[in-house]
């Protein structure tokens, strides 16, 4: 599903943030991505969700060499990927409903179907009574659930989570991990970036470790 071959990445004329990264993630796999702050976890995720292009190396996503794809062809690939951002990146001027509906509207789904899907999902994450609430009026935990709902509403083939447990207590972190494991069992490939190495170790799942821009498999 995801294949990196000798991928390097630098911003502008700065030093290389990622060096010779080689990676091969199978469909349906679950991997933690660990490493200290500044190790390059977010940069690696940005390359996977096509927010940046590598400065060198080859990336294959969904069996397609992205360097050979035209810009227009990247939008459909992005729709197969869900991302949960550490800072949620919810749009404050939109309701919880509209935030979750965003990926479906971008994909051009009919409004009636959007209404049904989003309502069901918000019920599933326990926010049925917050459909019209704006993010600033919600708690951190509620915002996080909206962010997760937005990431999974399209049933993406690949789900990336960037420090989703960074701002929650241990109990909530565990609940989130269970939620992602459930999604993984339904066939979604997961990459879960965290600096919480204990949680990653205890899960018994695949671990990728980034240190000084170099990736190793643990």
């Amino acid at each position: 599903m995801i294949r990196f071959e000798n991928v390097g990445m630098r911003y502008g004329t700065g030093p290389e943030v990622l060096r010779d990264v080689n990676l091969n993630l199978e469909p349906g796999s679950f991997h933690f991505l660990t490493g200290p702050s500044g190790a390059g976890k977010s940069t690696l995720l940005r390359l996977i969700y096509l927010a940046d292009r590598p400065t060198r190396g080859l990336i294959t996503l969904f069996d397609q060499d992205i360097s050979r794809l035209k810009r227009k062809a990247l939008a459909p690939l992005r729709r197969k990927i869900g991302v949960v951002f550490q800072d949620f990146r919810l749009l404050d001027h939109l309701s919880a409903f509209d935030n979750v509906a965003l990926p479906l509207r971008v994909a051009g789904m009919a409004e009636a179907k959007i209404r049904q899907n989003v309502t069901e999902l918000l019920e599933w994450v326990g926010l049925a009574d917050k459909l019209n609430a704006r993010p600033p009026t919600l708690s951190g935990g509620q915002q996080q659930r909206i962010a997760i709902a937005r990431a999974v509403i399209t049933r993406p083939q690949l789900l990336l989570a960037d420090e989703p447990t960074g701002n929650v207590d241990d109990e909530m972190a565990l609940r989130l991990l269970r939620l992602f494991e459930e999604l993984n069992k339904l066939g979604t490939t997961m990459v879960f970036a965290t600096h919480n190495e204990t949680m990653a170790r205890q899960s018994g799942l695949g671990r990728l470790h980034l240190e000084n821009g170099e990736l190793s498999s643990l």
Binding site: D52, L91, S95, E111
Partner: protein
């Protein structure tokens, strides 16, 4: 009721595009005035052209004896292509001068040249050089005026005024387009985070551009409509002033008649739509160009 409550990009909430109607409004106002002026001038020229088409004037020196005048009229009437020739009497000549000199007795006593009004047969082309020779032979000092020189000068003046008007329209349009470009760029910068998020969710460039172009269309039309209303009031006011200042009669107005007919008002009414469409297309092209730089 659950449904779409707002645009994905909160363009209506930031100040970057708020000034757009205030910039497009004056643009449409100036363009409407320039076009109204051009249309009015064009109409006046057509009136003059129609009034003078097929007419000529023969001017005989002051003091020309009446038998000479009569012989010239006879010569003209027998010239092929001339439909009619009529010598103006002193009363008619005095009436022509009345708007400028009044109708005092002194005017009646002025030594005025004699004028003969000619009408040409429709479509006919009299041999004017031959006619001029015959006229001078019959009445030394006679002058044949076919008004062409005067009309040519008027046309040159009108063309200059029209070209100036067109240049004004083009300049204010270019200024408007640049305004929309800068406003759209400011909007792109302000909403960069939202745009990157939408882009990351798989939004095509057209999806993002549509939100900017809708807003530009709305604001462009609002500004254009305001400008048009002001321009209409100005044109109406100037027309009113033009009629009010025609103290010397229809022939001696201080301002040209700014009375527009229905189709000319229709042309002006199209300006807000054109401005809105231009703003929309400009916004779209600006956004598409900027988004092309994203990966």
């Amino acid at each position: 009721m659950i449904g779409r409550s707002s645009n994905d990009i909160p363009l209506q909430r930031d100040g970057t595009s708020r000034m757009l109607p205030w910039l497009i409004g004056p643009t449409v106002y100036l363009a409407a005035l320039a076009i109204a002026g051009m249309l009015a001038l064009h109409g006046m020229l057509q009136n003059w052209d129609r009034g003078l088409a097929g007419t000529m004037t023969v001017e005989l020196p002051a003091g020309t004896a009446e038998p000479v005048v009569t012989s010239v009229v006879t010569l003209l009437r027998t010239t092929p292509g001339i439909a009619s020739a009529q010598a103006m009497d002193r009363a008619a000549e005095a009436k022509l001068l009345e708007p400028w000199l009044g109708n005092s007795v002194a005017v009646q006593e002025l030594s005025l040249p004699r004028l003969i009004d000619l009408h040409v047969v429709a479509g006919a082309r009299p041999d004017l050089p031959a006619l001029k020779t015959k006229l001078v032979a019959a009445a030394p000092g006679a002058v044949l005026d076919d008004h062409q020189q005067w009309l040519d000068r008027l046309y040159t003046l009108a063309l200059t005024v029209e070209a100036t008007g067109l240049a004004i329209v083009l300049m204010v349009s270019a200024a408007s387009v640049l305004t929309v470009v800068f406003t759209t760029r400011a909007g792109l910068a302000v909403h960069r985070d939202v745009i990157e998020l939408l882009h990351g969710l798989g939004a095509r460039d057209g999806y993002i551009a549509r939100q900017f172009q809708r807003e530009a269309l709305r604001l462009g039309f609002a500004g254009g409509l305001g400008g048009l209303v002001l321009a209409a009031a100005t044109v109406w006011g100037l027309g009113h002033v033009a009629r009010a200042t025609s103290v010397l009669g229809e022939q001696a107005k201080l301002l040209p008649d700014l009375h527009l007919v229905l189709w000319q008002w229709g042309t002006l009414a199209a300006l807000p739509v054109i401005a809105a469409l231009a703003a929309m297309i400009t916004a779209r092209l600006t956004v598409m160009r900027a988004l092309a730089r994203l990966p």
